[in-house]
Amino acid sequence: MSEIAVAPIAKVYGQPVLEVPQDLYIPPDALEVFLEQFEGPLDLLLYLIRKENTDVLDIPMSKLTGQYLEYVEMMRTRSLELAAEYLLMAAMLIEIKSRMLLPRPAIEGLEADPRAELVRRLLEYERMKLAAQRLNELPQAGRDFSLVHVLFDETAAGRLPDVNAADLRMAWLALLTRAAVNRHHRITREQLSVREHMSRILRRLQEARYIEFKELFKPEHGIAVLVVTFLALLELARESLVELTQQAAYGSLYVKLKTGHLAAVE
């Protein structure tokens, strides 16, 4: 297995991974990283075939099936999420292997080779996989080159830009991407409905200086809204945006805008 010098197939924690799994000690974590890299059973099979410099057109079925099952077993014991496709492929390999053992009528020629369909699929997948790599290497607008954006004052023409929900999502994605660069900016996302209700409560408190706690909760809105409103209130309190006060034990709770020293001076 190891007589051929193989280029590193993966780098894990900076260490090249050459052979998996027998010939090299690989920390269990690294193995998981390695196993998770396969895009599916075809990808794994191609790896096994390419690793040994096997001719795709003449696959040694019993060896390949053995190796494949070994990997699948490894994934299973590590309780990696094992997609059904892997098991389906295992069944297919075993079937092909057993059909290989049967004598084949020579006349039928190519079609009779039980491996034909598998080989077709492997080659087709590999072709697309390589195409994907090349496509990814092409310079992409925004990623590898910039587009020109000279200001043209369109608002002068009275037209307002359109925004849709997907734009918003893209903008957020851009922020996340940057947040990954600037580690100190932690962006978290609570349930949006909570934030919406935080705004709603603040709006109400603009109108009334304080609100009785229970006024915020309308049972007719349903339990989900009650819970969300409650969470919103807790969050507002945590962010020191509102104050919850109670005059006496078991008395009414009041919610009011937090007023700081500055407000007191005014």
Partner: protein
């Protein structure tokens, strides 16, 4: 139009201003709308070529992509421009890129076709991400039970890769070249090889186009 040379200069200035301010590539019919006078396609193309020449050697160039003409910064300048914005657009994962490649080279395809080739389920997120990017869209439905959507790549996809048509994409590998028996001739003598020719169950517009282009 008594001083045609001057007018042409003016036409070029207008073209340049329009192309520099437009956020999308501009096609000839759109560019014609800029002018009161009727301009022939020929005249317009000559002007665009001239404009392209004017920009030679600059950091920005005029390029002709699938949906028309646009200005872009040359890729060599990206490393400078990048310093201004730490935000980089997403690099798609392999799953996304493989899905995209299958749609690009095998279009139109259904999600089932993609799954058949990749051998795994294609998540809705992947399709949605590509749709939102404006790189793929639904061009029809296959008339089989369930009427699955048929996906194809868009002009925007070609624009973003700075090409004018699908046949400018990298060519697909020849299946034969994938046989990696070092030095060995690609399986000539054995009657074994189960796949002698590439099976082409579906119409392959890209392939066809490429053949047509190279013919």
């Amino acid at each position: 139009m008594d001083t045609p040379s001057l007018d042409l200069e003016h036409v070029k200035r207008i073209l340049e201003a329009a192309l520099l301010t437009s956020q999308e590539p501009l096609a000839l019919p759109e560019l014609k709308q800029l002018f009161d006078e009727e301009l022939s396609n020929d005249a317009l193309c000559r002007m665009l070529e001239e404009l392209r020449g004017d920009w030679r050697g600059r950091g920005v160039e005029l390029v002709h992509v699938a949906s028309g003409w646009r200005f872009r910064a040359r890729p060599e300048y990206q490393r400078f421009i990048e310093r201004l914005t730490p935000i980089k657009p997403p690099r798609y994962s392999r799953a996304v890129m493989e899905t995209l490649a299958i749609i690009a080279y095998k279009q139109p395809v259904t999600r089932g076709d993609i799954e058949e080739i990749r051998g795994v389920t294609v998540s809705t997120n992947i399709i949605r991400a590509l749709e939102e990017r404006g790189w793929i869209d639904v061009v029809g439905h296959r008339e089989v039970p369930g009427r699955p959507a048929l996906y194809a790549t868009t002009k925007t996809f070609l624009d973003d890769l700075n090409v004018r048509s699908l046949d400018e994409l990298p060519p697909l590998d020849d299946l034969g070249s994938l046989v990696e028996t070092a030095g060995a001739p690609p399986v000539a003598e054995t009657p074994k090889p189960p796949v002698a020719e590439e099976p082409e169950p579906q119409p392959q517009p890209v392939e066809e186009m490429r053949r047509a282009a190279s013919a």
